[in-house]
Amino acid sequence: MERFDVVIIGSGAGGAPIAARLARAGHSVLVLEKGPLLRTQEEHPLGVSDFKRDELFATGAEKRLTLSGVANHFDSFYSSHVEPDLNDEPHIYEGADGLDRATIEGYTAQVVGGGTQLYGAVSLRFSELDLRLGSFNAGRSDIVGDPNGDVRREARDWPIDYATLEPYYCEAERLVGINGTRANQGKPFSADHYQTPYAPNPISAYVATGMDALGLPRYRTPLAVITEDHAPSGRIVPAAAEAAKTGYVNRYGDPLGLKSNTWVALLRPLSGMANFTLRANCVVTHLEMAGDRISKVVYRDVAGRPVEVAGGLVVVACSAIESVRLLLLSGERDPAFAARLNGNGLLGRHFLTHCFGGAEAIMPGRFDKSVSLDSDWATDACASEDFIRSQGLWAGGAIYNNTSDQALPISLARTHGSQDMDTIWQTFVDDTALTGDALNAFFDANFGTRLSVSFMANQVPLFDNRIELHPSIRDKWGRRVAYIRKTWHSHDVHLMNVFAEQCRRILAFGGDGGKGQFPVSEFGAIYMAANARARIANHILGGMRFGSDAADSVLDPNCRAWQFDNLYVTDGAFMPTSGGANPTLTIQANALRVADQLLARL
């Protein structure tokens, strides 16, 4: 059996930073990734990238769900080229009607780089308060929509504070390669490693006007896209002006490698090192233990053959749902494993996503939205303690505009009226009146005119929101699939209404030069969607929260499973609360922090 100092399962935001740091320190590192290695055009044997500026890569041809025992049997679905197939590897969720359905929600991407290949690259820090919501809410009686005191009971402080994490935020921002601005952010910075952002898309001026009119301090949304040559990863920006601004951003991999996914930013620079091994197309089926140590990592290689390897340390970072599932599957094979890992019954519990939603309007002017990155302006005004208390909230969040959404013709049509990946195309094909002149009118009204403002805020952690193994549905390897069981708390609903109104006001004030009367017909939040229970925003968090008390958490403050000597979990599963911002940068920063702890052990 091959042995490595460290075996890391997953090559995305939680795994790659650890691989980079430990490999550079001279330790032997194996990264196992379920998906393929898709490369930029410069490194590819055919001289072209496996990623394309092609709308059918983001959302492909129709497929039909053949799984039996789900309410959406035989429904159509459309997935990107790097998302798993729902017939081979579905996620199942329990709907409000008690029926099970397969969903693409909760998957990021199966590819080297994981979700960082397809994400919009918004790279916000969490606020200082996001990490101490337990103590902040203790004893409060002014929290709206919380008649049973769930918030006070379930809110937790992180076992580390912002000051501990802050140097790692700086390091992540430097290593990953992020453009943005620091001024007006509501979070303390000890160093500024941001590259200079490109000029915003002109449509974003409405958002700037609205935020200014409302007195909301704004800053350029930090985006993991390099705008200048990036020494840590050796990447060079092409001579063409603003080459990354294409509209092919969110849900597209970047053929030029300017988006700072973890392959180009962290792993590719290790490629020539003898002590670094990356094995793509390898799915880990389970872990085995001996005493208090993980003794084997068992995976299937590209030919489907079982292979065993051993790691002095084992890091699980294959996205929260799949990480929980991997450990549940390991426990299913070995009751002693389950008992050791899940003695307190918290494995898979307190699963989290974000409270998210926003507002969208047809603005007075038309702009070329295809010359854009994912976002231009953000504000932390709704993350302040004053705002939170004034609205009876338990926590805050970030607000930012989306620039690239619906920038291209097919994406405009297929997302017309749809709420998520599971309902794509439905409204357009149903809206049979859209033909000829009416189709012209549809494009006239919507193409280059739509502007949205989104919020990303903390969801209340609940014991009953959880990841389990589905009782009957199995993947193509014969393993039980993940079963997502979650709902929204009444306080989440209040919080989302408050934030949606803030987003609406930004557009209302931005659309008419600060008077606040511009009509904003679409605003709301995800709890209103027909399949609200499924919605995850691909922010997959919790399920193995870390903490200082072994009875109240799955992982210790260094993300080590309490009862195992060498098992660590570093994707979003470790989070006891979901933070008031997109999570990727925090997962990366925490992974660098854990890497330092591992270095001290090795």
């Binding site: 998906g35 393929p36 290695l37 490369r39 055009q41 590819h44 044997p45 055919l46 001289g47 072209v48 990238s49 496996d50 394309k52 500026r53 092609d54 709308e55 059918l56 492909g60 041809a61 129709e62 497929k63 039909r64 053949t66 197939d85 017939n87 092409p238 001579a239 063409a240 080459a243 092919y248 053929p255 030029l256 793509a280 197309n281 590209v302 030919a303 489907g304 070329d368 295809s370 010359v371 013709p409 097919i410 049509a413 195309w425 357009f428 094909v429 049979t432 009146a433 033909t435 000829g436 002149d437 189709l439 012209n440 494009f443 193409f447 280059g448 993947d475 193509k476 390897w477 014969g478």
Partner: protein, 346 residues
């Protein structure tokens, strides 16, 4: 001699793992092959052979694709002898697929011109047969079945009959905006701007579907072959219906108003004279057609639609600012020669 392209194992592994590697080979997928057909046990078998881009710095037209044939041994054991022969090369000189590392897969990557349709067979351990993965098949005149593939931008009709294409074009045209006054002005301008020497080739004749029918033909031949039966039944029903209503004129020549009325009826799922016994829901077919048409006219031309990038150009021209600059500068992001991005190769 068709050139063999050198690719690395990492590239080949990426074409295989997600789609072919599995423990459960049961019928998990429905591309019209559910049941005992082993292709129902493969994810997206239509992807094989893989047709990819290949960049040639000396070819401004970028006229070739990289086509990778993959064989997966049924017994999951390495060591099988596999060869391919096809219309892309000398049929009497089969080319060997080489073992992929120590796996039971064998592969071969060839450089083949874009816009072509080819047939081929595999010789597996001495026995000639169709490709067991690729669902695309065709019968030659001598009654022998071959596997088929096509490269980017192919325009030869594959699964639709000529009369079906003509009828379909009229239905697509009704959905799209090009038959409107604005659309006709645009088409005339594009046509005039080309000049006699540069007029579109026969296959890309300017029609009001801007390539959507060709896109649908290719989609039904490959990715959405499971919907071919919808088109075959519904086009036959529509043809019969229109002949009934207008006995002396060929259906595809009927005036626009006839198609507009038919469209309206189909939208309500209540079509006078429709044979509901054969196809229960004409509205479903209309929905399918709407998605396919819209996708065909605005997707990358490699899929066979958006002929001469007319879909994109229509929006480029329609939306301009006060200074006349376009508000959909699609060519800025897209590779040459279609677009003008200097870094991206497609």
């Amino acid at each position: 001699m068709v050139p063999v392209l050198a690719v690395d194992n990492e590239y080949l592994f990426g074409l295989i793992g997600k789609f072919l590697a599995r423990e459960d080979a049961g019928p998990r997928h429905d591309y019209g092959h559910l049941g005992a057909d082993p292709r129902a046990g493969i994810l997206e078998p239509w992807r094989f052979p893989w047709v990819d881009a290949v960049y040639d710095p000396d070819d401004a037209a970028q006229a070739y694709n990289a086509v990778t044939f993959v064989h997966a041994a049924a017994d999951r054991q390495p060591g099988h002898a596999v060869q391919v022969a096809g219309s892309f090369a000398d049929l009497h000189t089969p080319l060997p697929l080489l073992p992929l590392a120590d796996t039971h897969y064998a592969t071969l990557t060839l450089r083949i011109r874009k816009g072509e349709v080819h047939h081929y067979r595999l010789r597996i351990d001495g026995v000639w047969q169709v490709d067991p993965i690729n669902p695309q098949r065709m019968m030659l005149d001598n009654g022998v079945e071959w596997s088929r593939f096509f490269t980017w931008g192919a325009t030869r009709r594959l699964v639709l009959e000529r009369w079906e294409s003509r009828l379909l074009q009229r239905l697509c045209s009704h959905i799209l905006p090009f038959h409107t006054a604005d659309g006709e002005t645009f088409f005339k301008r594009v046509h005039d701007a080309q000049g006699p020497a540069n007029r579109a080739p026969h296959a890309y004749r300017l029609d009001e579907s801007a390539g959507a029918v060709n896109f649908i033909d290719k989609l039904l031949a490959r990715e959405e072959a499971h919907h071919l039966v919808d088109y075959q039944i519904c086009l036959e029903l529509i043809d019969g219906l229109l002949r009934q209503r207008n006995p002396v004129i060929e259906p595809w020549k009927l005036p626009r108003e006839v198609f507009a009325e038919l469209y309206r009826e189909m939208a309500t799922a209540s079509v006078a004279g429709w044979n509901y016994g054969r196809y229960g829901n004409p509205r479903y077919f209309l929905q399918l057609l709407r998605r396919h048409t819209l996708t065909g006219v605005f997707s990358h031309p490699r899929y066979g639609g958006n002929a001469m990038t007319l879909g994109w150009k229509y929006l480029e021209e329609r939306y301009r600012d006060a200074s006349g600059a376009t508000l959909f500068d699609w060519g800025r992001a897209i590779e040459a020669p279609l677009g003008r991005n200097s870094a991206y190769r497609g």
